[in-house]
Symmetry: C5
């Protein structure tokens, strides 16, 4: 049961724990705490213009500058964050504030957007489709250049890459701001299938609650609810972030991209609606579970009461005629035992008592 809960949608333990890698209190701001066991980073560049696109692995940041000169938009993706010197090199190359580097390396940030001179720094939290945890992807946007930095390889940006490679839609004719939007949008849309899964899980749990509630059902509802709480916590900051981008980032997002940001904001609002609705349903299921269990307990108690109520008095009567008072001593001592119809009379008495009690129980509506 515990496996279920911990590997379930929610992974709350991960949720509570993934903030652990952190500089100690009092440490210098800009301290990077990297995971020494991380695989070596891979730097992939996807550069494109209206006509064409090119992809290559780079190992030298100088090459990046060349590409930036050649192509209208360059997208650099860094796949692993375990290499502190590389991070610092990127930081220097792009002239980043050291706090930006700290936020890139020290995972566990909330989704947010911050301006540092001509660089827009965006943190995205992206859900794992199979688990309930979220991953941090950092975005650096500058005129003509977008850098994405992520802890693990394998991401939700393949759809965007495809659109760039094959020139689908308008992505190749737009600038780096549109690419940034497309990446944010892909991150946001990633939440939909996760919530769909949660919806399916809720359906199946609802069936269980109505048909065969077990303590495990309870544990799973709790786990699901907790997962929804943690998704909610990941989605909410997007709202504020997109609001901020629409309000303050006019220098970066051109007028033509603004409606797309608003559309993305709409998606976030719908996600929030959805996750709130599912949380309500999960809470309701918990109450239903408890009510169902309480109803069953009630039924159990009724059966016990009916059986005990009917048979305890009968047993008493049988007990009375099982007493050993000696009828031979006096005619007051259990004369019934010597009656010709004593036994049938006793059985009749029992039947009447049982009937009366059943009638009482019936009238109470317990049957």
């Amino acid at each position: 049961m515990k496996t279920l809960i911990r590997n379930g949608l929610t992974g709350h333990r991960g949720g509570l724990r993934h903030h652990r890698r952190r500089p100690p209190p009092g440490a210098m701001p800009g301290t990077l705490v990297v995971d020494a066991d991380a695989p070596p980073p891979r730097l992939t560049v996807l550069a494109y213009g209206p006509e064409d696109s090119t992809e290559e692995q780079v190992s030298d940041l100088g090459r990046l500058d060349e590409l930036c000169r050649e192509w209208p938009v360059v997208w650099l993706n860094v796949d692993s964050l375990g290499d502190e010197p590389l991070l610092r090199a990127i930081g220097e190359h792009l002239d980043l504030h050291r706090l930006v580097l700290e936020d890139v390396a020290n995972l566990g940030q909330r989704s947010k957007a911050e301006f540092y001179d001509d660089v827009l720094f965006i943190v995205l939290r992206i859900p794992h489709v199979e688990g309930g945890d979220t991953e941090q992807v950092s975005l650096l946007v500058r005129d003509g250049l977008v850098v994405t930095l992520q802890e693990h390889s394998g991401d939700c940006f393949d759809g965007v890459r495809d659109r760039v490679r094959h020139g689908k839609g308008k992505i190749r004719v737009r600038g780096s701001d549109y690419l940034a939007y497309a990446l944010i949008d892909a991150a946001v849309d990633q939440y939909f299938p996760v919530l769909d899964d949660a919806g399916l899980a809720l359906d199946s749990l609802e069936d269980q609650v109505f048909e065969q509630p077990t303590p495990e059902t309870l544990a799973r509802i709790h786990a699901l609810k907790r997962g929804l709480v943690s998704l909610r916590k990941a989605i909410w900051p997007y709202r504020e972030m997109l609001n901020g981008l629409m309000r303050d980032a006019e220098s970066i997002f051109v007028d033509e991209t603004q409606p797309y940001l608003r559309d993305c904001y709409d998606h976030v609002v719908r996600l929030i609606d959805l996750v709130e609705a599912q949380r309500d349903v999960a809470s309701d299921l918990l109450n239903m579970y408890l009510s169902t269990v309480s109803n069953r307990m009630n039924e159990v108690m009724k059966v016990l009461t009916i059986i005990a109520t009917v048979f305890i008095p009968l047993s008493f009567i049988a007990g009375v005629y099982g007493m050993n008072f000696d009828p031979a001593v006096s005619r007051w001592n259990m004369p019934e035992l010597g009656w010709a119809l004593g036994y049938p009379a006793a059985l009749l008495l029992m039947g009447l008592v049982a009937g009366g009690l059943l009638a009482f129980v019936w009238r109470k509506g317990w049957l």
Copy 2:
């Protein structure tokens, strides 16, 4: 029981599921995901001026332009959204942003109003009278032209059509903004009968809770409550939408139409009040149900306790005199069995014990 819940007012499963038809994450914005099984669309035009009105089915969008030139106000209604080329044709004809088309086709939007240059794009969620689900109707308002797009034929706009056809009230002397208002108002008013039904259901459930609560009652209250939650979720965005229209849409809604928008806003506020009140009542009913069940359980326990408390000691006494110690061996062995009045004395003892216990129970107030 489950049928009841799922076909009840609420249809929450539909509610959680109707967001499924959606482009995959990373897909190009403006991707339309249409339902291939939808019936072919029907385009109906209702054009009118102060003096007269005309209705016709059109199949060519060019005809629409002619009508727009002939009549002060033209209302185009599209009945089914399964035909992607048609949607794209309408989009091009009206010069719509591709995000508008996406929102029209991908159902599951919240009620909202958005401006795209000279077009006002409005999404309405309209409740099904018989079920608990809501349907999306999109509204495009431009000077002299209103387009409504809906998934299913059969809508709540027949009252408005009648007013146009027969020239009731002032609708024919006003412009397209008044028509848009009339359609929004019809959508909002559609919630009243749905909430009235919910009120009747609450009344009947209250009777059940007081008279004969069953687990099914519980399930129905839960279902009703969930339905109210989903109605609430559908109604709330109207508030924001109407606020926005009153505040920002002066270019479209002329001064004379403004008081009508405010009236419509008042209706929404009353709907919110009503749905909140019903939700409170439903919550209260849930608590009442649980209290009632708990009270009954209490009563069951009392009966069990009284029966057991009275008869268990009596049975013990009978058991004692049913023991087989041999009085012949010594005069200490169950001499009572040989007393002349032993049996009556034993019955008397039982009677006294029973009386004492009943008195105890009585004093406790359990009878």
Copy 3:
């Protein structure tokens, strides 16, 4: 029990139902749905100036104009709203927007204040002292003229009428704005005795909860709580309304009347405080009830457990010595039966067992 609940303070069913009389969805705005069974309306005019006042019944609206010319302030009261032509006549005479007329006729509005050119339209919800429902009174305020429209005759304005008739205080030297304030104030103050009654009911229910809680107590607390919820819903909009009047109605309420509005606002805030406090107390009483019932159940269970715990083992011992194994066959078969002190020994054993169990129960603190 149900009678109690439904005729109690709350009348929630009325509360949920009195919104029924309403035009159908899609109907023309301004549609009046009047109650055909209502008594014929009575139009009473009370006109006054600093020196004198006069009262008369009018049947012709022309007479109203004459009075307006003669007296500084004219107060027209309409007592029943069943006469649609009359309502329309008043509307035309005062040049009212058709939406105002709709709100006057279609009861169930929230308290609110709206401006239509030079007319201030106010809706007041006034509680019935004896029941828990609220009634709608509409107020039209124009320079020198106040019109009140109410569904039923008999209102809470008699105090104001008296002050006008006998020239008490400054009411006759002030204008129509002060009269409007006085009427709003009377409506607000009407809630105090209703809440006082609720306070008394809470006191009596608290006594019941502590002394003799019955399921009926529960039902009455629930009913009271629901009544308080509905009063709260009626009072809250006053706050917004008075805020609006203080902020925006300077053209109607002169500087000298402003402090009175603020005083009225203070009363509303105190009413809200009071109703919230009573709701808290009612919620607490519900919890107390449940706790008390749970405590009693606990006590019942303890008695059952003590009786059963003590006597079931004793009965078992008696049962053992009631077995019929034949001591004659071997000396292993129930030799106790043949002991000279077998019976006293058995009783002693029972006594010891009973004592031990009672000691156990005592040590557990269940006695």
Copy 4:
């Protein structure tokens, strides 16, 4: 138990009732409803300047004017509000708005600050140290004059009087605004000891909950919680009041006094924090109580179940061998009774059954 609750910290009944003395609905604003049984009022004046101070009882308001001319700051304290003519005389003397007089006389106002021309009118609610109720003190502040009006003699201002009399601190060199601040501050600080008492009561109740919870414990926690709710309601309005004074009362509170108001505001925020924390603790204690009781019930049920589970089957076995089937008739009739080791075998069987059941109970973890 009830005495405890009602005389406890909370006095909620008083809380709900002390709003009773009130003019009837529809009454003229400015109507004073005084308590006819109140003792005759005492007017005490404390006048001071940087150098000296004087105290005297005055009976003539003319004397007040003289003092005002002689001393920089005059503080008039009125001790009882039962004398309507005196109140009206004060009102006229100070040229007060009649609504101010109404609020002074009709107790039950919330803490608030209002400006009437050059007079600042402040209502303070001050807690009784020994009980849970609050008392209203009205403050009128004008240049050089502070008037305090209270229902009962005996107040929390003795500390301030002392500072004035002995010229401690800077109070004598400051103006009437500083005196007003000092009085407000004394009123606010009065809440600290009351909350300290509540904290001690919470500690003692926590001990009871863990060691010996009784229904009385429950009642006392409820009473304490209700008292905290009513204190909270009394403290909150101070926040708004002080905010208002800091924001709008620059004409009265000079720059040098502003930091003191901010300090006072800080105290109020800490009081609110404290009372919220205590309310949380009280709610937690309620839950702990219920959980503890439920745990005990659980234990009771387990004992019952173990006893019944073990002995009921044993009694059945004994019952079987107590049947009277006649072994003489056939060798199938209870041959065990005639076995040489029948009785030991039966006891062994019982022992095995009991052992098995105990093992089952043990494995379930119920021991």
Copy 5:
């Protein structure tokens, strides 16, 4: 168990009690209530510039001025607050408002930032790592000078001292505003390990709830939850404080330091997220505990019911055939006793009844 709770993470009693040392109501503002038993204060100065740093203990405040003249930034740390004359001397030396001194000495303030002319006064609440209580540290920031005042020696600023001593990072090239930021940041970061501990405690409690819930588990969850509530209360005011510093303290915090404040604000927001998440988990654990206990009770009841339901009827049958009616008197009296297969038939009957009841129980799903 109580020890656990009180010495646990939360120390709520301390939390509710550490506000006790406080001037009496009505006392002069600026009254210092110091702890007479506190150790003598230690004044340590750490002065630094870009090139070098020096540390010394000072006893004379005149020396402070010298250091201020010599070094760009001087940090004075005062370790104990028991010496009232010293506090007053510092106050005079720095020309502090007496209310600042009052807040420094009277512990129990909330975190806040206040401006007094050219001095920024900041209160920090810092958590104890080992316990659940928080300590107050006051910060005075002036151009070139930072003073920290704390009740106990031993603090969380050692990391900052190290950075100054060894010139790590940029701390030595920045001014006193950066030092103030570094101290605030160290205080904020101190909460992370405390919340990590709480996370670990939650994990261990979750294991207990699922594997072996005891009443002690309940008590510990409650204690933990209370501790989280008190941490939350300590963290929240930081948010407002940092907002205020970013908004209003431009005169003190130079542009280069602003991003650091924003970073610090981000940390606070994440702490709030974290503590809210943990509170949710703790609440959930409480519910899980109750549900688990209720499930177990349910199981107990089922076993009792099954045993009683099966054996009570069997015992009744045995009781019937244990009655002593005399078969010799008539052929109606218990003829079964004389049947050749009477005993086997009775056993068979019992077997059938038992089988039937078990089948009933099975069908109910109670096994």
